[in-house]
């Protein structure tokens, strides 16, 4: 794999927790790879599977959806719906043969700046050996 | 020019057509026939009817018209537009049916004329059609003889092969056909006199074997002029699912859509693309205001039939239907174009 290959990750971060967590990481000047294109959403429950498929279609190498821990959701149950729906998305993507590491979900609270950087670091580490995502990408 | 070609030397002939890109019929696992690029593998000479007609090669589902890109140059971005023409190798489609070649001959009329469609003709001029005369009807629903075609019609064909058991009687119908023969002259022999009689008999015999029939197609075309408001269209389209099968798989249907497809939004880069379209989808005719001259499936079934059996007849004096029966065989709810037209004929009779 070309050493300089840098995977591009699209991350849907819930505004109340994960996005705040990533801001905390930034404010605390924590080091983490710059591969992420963050998209702030009001709740992880509002992330439609269509956004995930479309991100891969437009060339994302990895997609992350991150929301509040169960029980912390600003809208009470948004993350519970997300947990069920995105589990189905993950199973479907695996079933058609997409590398399972490419789609990840995580719980990151507003206080977990370090966990955010850790997840991004791991994600980049797992994506690097896979190389660019060409399966769902529009005319690769 | 007429020749004969032994069946066993068919594969060698295909090998000799190296400078052509050759499409041959092949049966897939599910038992469906389709045209595939020749790969030295087995040639399905006993082909019946392919699901997708040769139209998919002459008039592909996707055709790039032009590419556009916003290139940053000297501060101000300039728009660069580049026309894209298909660069097509000489192509030959082996195993087309006379009705499908007749459909290509109809498409020639549509895409020719005043505004020649350069994309279609780039492919059409390079493509030769080698037809198999239908000694046995390819489908249960063939009715080519009712729409002025026949199992051995020659329109649109460059070579017509008639199966005589161990050999084919080869009729060359165009300069392209002759080139295909001269590419492997040694495989072709002069036909013996009695072979001509055999072919005539085989052709006559094949016409009798056509299974379906649409009586008085021309009077129906005339009668359709007065049936625009008839309730018949509502009744016959009740079970229609409004999908695109009957049009996308029809060898003579040619409606299309033109859209800009974006690869990158900034800086803008994309292509203008022609894709297949069908009068059966609601937004085919929907105005930007939401007004739709054809609001329901009755109007669309009427359009599909009138276009083929009245409008095209009025403009080109030919039926736009070649009687291949695909729309009958593959309609998920069994709407049968012959039965609907029978009802038109009997309507108010």
């Amino acid at each position: 794999m070309a050493e300089d290959y840098e995977p591009r990750i699209v991350a849907f971060l819930c505004k109340w927790c994960s996005s705040a967590g990533s801001d905390l990481a930034g404010v605390s000047r924590m080091e983490y790879p710059p591969n992420v294109v963050p998209i702030q959403v009001m709740c992880s429950g509002s992330v439609s599977p269509l956004y995930i498929f479309s991100a891969f279609n437009k060339g994302a190498d990895g997609v992350l959806v991150s929301g509040c821990h169960p029980g912390d959701c600003h809208y009470i149950k948004g993350n519970y719906y997300a947990r069920r729906r995105l589990n189905l998305v993950k199973k479907l993507l695996e079933y058609i043969g997409l590398e399972p590491q490419r789609f990840q979900m995580s719980w990151i609270s507003a206080a977990e700046g370090t966990k955010y950087t850790q997840i991004i670091k791991n994600f980049v580490k797992e994506l690097k050996p896979l190389g660019p995502q060409t399966k769902m990408r529009r005319n690769p | 020019m007429e020749k004969t070609l032994a069946k066993k030397s068919f594969p060698q002939w295909i090998k000799k057509l190296g400078s052509w890109s050759v499409y041959i019929p092949r049966k897939d696992k599910e038992g469906r026939w389709n045209y595939v690029e020749a790969d030295g593998g087995e040639v399905g000479l006993e082909v019946l009817q392919t699901t997708l007609p040769p139209k998919k090669i002459l008039f592909p589902q996707r055709e790039v018209f032009l590419e556009f890109a916003m290139t940053p140059a000297g501060g101000r971005e300039t728009l660069e537009v580049k026309e894209v023409l298909p660069d097509v190798k000489p192509t030959v489609i082996i195993g087309a049916r006379p009705c499908e070649a007749r459909a290509a001959w109809l498409l020639d009329k549509v895409f020719g004329g005043e505004f020649r469609d350069v994309y279609y003709w780039k492919r059409r001029d390079q493509t030769s059609l080698v037809g198999f005369a239908c000694t046995t009807p390819p489908s249960e629903n063939c009715f080519c003889t009712s729409v002025e075609g026949s199992p051995h019609s020659e329109e649109g064909l460059d070579l017509l092969l008639t199966d005589l058991g161990d050999k084919y009687y080869v009729q060359s119908l165009s300069p392209k056909g002759e080139k295909l023969i001269s590419a492997a002259k040694d495989l072709f022999e002069e036909p013996k006199p009695e072979v001509k009689k055999q072919v005539k008999a085989a052709h006559a015999e094949s016409e009798k074997k056509i299974k379906r029939q649409l009586k008085d197609a021309r009077p129906i075309a005339e009668k359709l002029k007065g049936m625009f408001g008839s309730p018949l269209w509502d009744e016959e389209s009740m079970s229609c699912l409004r999908c695109g099968i009957c049009t996308y798989l029809c060898p003579s249907c040619h409606c299309f859509d033109i859209n800009d497809e974006i690869e990158n939004s900034s800086p803008l880069r994309g292509q203008r693309v022609r894709t297949w379209d069908t009068c059966q989808f609601p937004d085919f005719t929907m105005h930007s205001s939401g007004h739709n001259p054809r609001p329901d499936k009755a109007a669309r079934l009427r359009q599909r039939l009138l276009h083929k059996f009245q409008y095209f007849v009025q403009v080109y004096d030919k039926f736009m239907c070649v009687g291949c029966g695909r729309c009958i065989t593959l309609c998920p709810v069994g709407i049968d174009i012959i039965k609907v037209l029978d009802k038109v004929r009997e309507n108010g009779a």
């Binding site: - | 728009l79 895409f111 005043e114 033109i258 203008r272 009068c279 105005h287 930007s288 205001s289």
Partner: protein
């Protein structure tokens, strides 16, 4: 190299003018060809305008063919391509291909009194004929315009209409009464009945939404206009503009090629599918 009917020529927008702002915005563009290509057209013909990345839209050329310096399009903001067109300013590039359609048979109308009846953006296709008639004024009898819009704000070519009043009777109307509106209030077809244009040696040309055309034709018939004296344009959805893509047909006519201009005598014989 065989000419490719689908490839647009690049044109540069030289001037834009906001005719109507707000919900049903209308903007007028003047465009010049980049390589000053020859593009002679007849009044009433249309051109397929391209905004690359968005698509194409068939727009009638609203300037008179006698004006050579520029071509003018007045466009209602109503969808993907027209909204993109509205975002463009002078200096931007568009694609133009055409001219398409049969145009108005203006030469056959020599010596006749011309009655123009427009509704909303329908005045754009009419404008090409109005300008041409004015430039060849002595070839025609009387000229008059009956034009209506939904509200006073929606009226197109406001200042042009003002100085048009000095050259021909202009009867404006809006659908619903407004405070400082003192002309006719009501739909255009009713205004036609009100103004009672005389059918004697006259040609009536009407463009607008399909529903308006239907009733204008009915009322003109009540005023004893013959079928051959009434002309209109059919604005079906168009994509190719050259009678191939199969969507704009009424009967065996492709409106983009065999139309969009029809006399009622011809249109009456075709299925009412527009």
């Amino acid at each position: 190299m065989e000419p490719n009917v689908y490839t647009p020529q690049l044109a540069k927008i030289v001037q834009t003018k906001d005719e109507v702002v707000g919900a049903r915005a209308i903007k007028t563009f003047r465009a010049e060809f980049v390589n000053s290509a020859r593009f002679d057209y007849r009044c009433g013909q249309c051109a397929m305008l391209s905004v690359f990345g968005k698509g194409e839209a068939m727009i009638s050329i609203s300037s008179s063919p006698l004006i050579k310096e520029y071509m003018q399009f007045s466009i209602l903001r109503t969808g993907r391509v027209t909204a993109a067109l509205h975002d463009l300013e002078a200096g931007d590039f568009i694609g133009v291909r055409g001219p398409y359609g049969n145009g108005f048979p203006i030469d056959e109308w020599r010596g006749k009194n011309l009655v123009f009846i427009g509704g909303g953006i329908g005045l754009a296709p009419l404008w090409s004929v109005v300008q041409t008639a004015l430039l060849r004024r002595n070839e025609f009898g009387t000229l008059s315009l009956i034009y209506g819009a939904r509200t006073a704000k929606d009226i197109v070519f406001k200042d042009d209409l003002a100085d048009l009043k000095s050259q021909m009777p202009v009867h404006l109307s809006i659908d619903v009464a407004e405070p400082e509106w003192n002309e006719f209030v009501g739909f255009v077809p009713t205004n036609v009945l009100e103004k009672k244009p005389s059918p004697a040696n006259a040609i009536a040309i009407t463009c607008g939404p399909p529903i308006m055309i239907k009733f204008v034709i009915k009322n003109l018939k009540d005023l004893k206009f013959e079928d051959e004296q009434i002309y209109t344009t059919v604005e079906n959805k168009m994509k190719c503009g050259i009678g191939k893509c199969g969507r704009c047909n009424i009967g065996f006519h492709y409106v983009c090629k065999d139309g969009p201009v029809y006399s009622w005598a011809e249109l009456k014989k075709l299925p009412q599918e527009y």
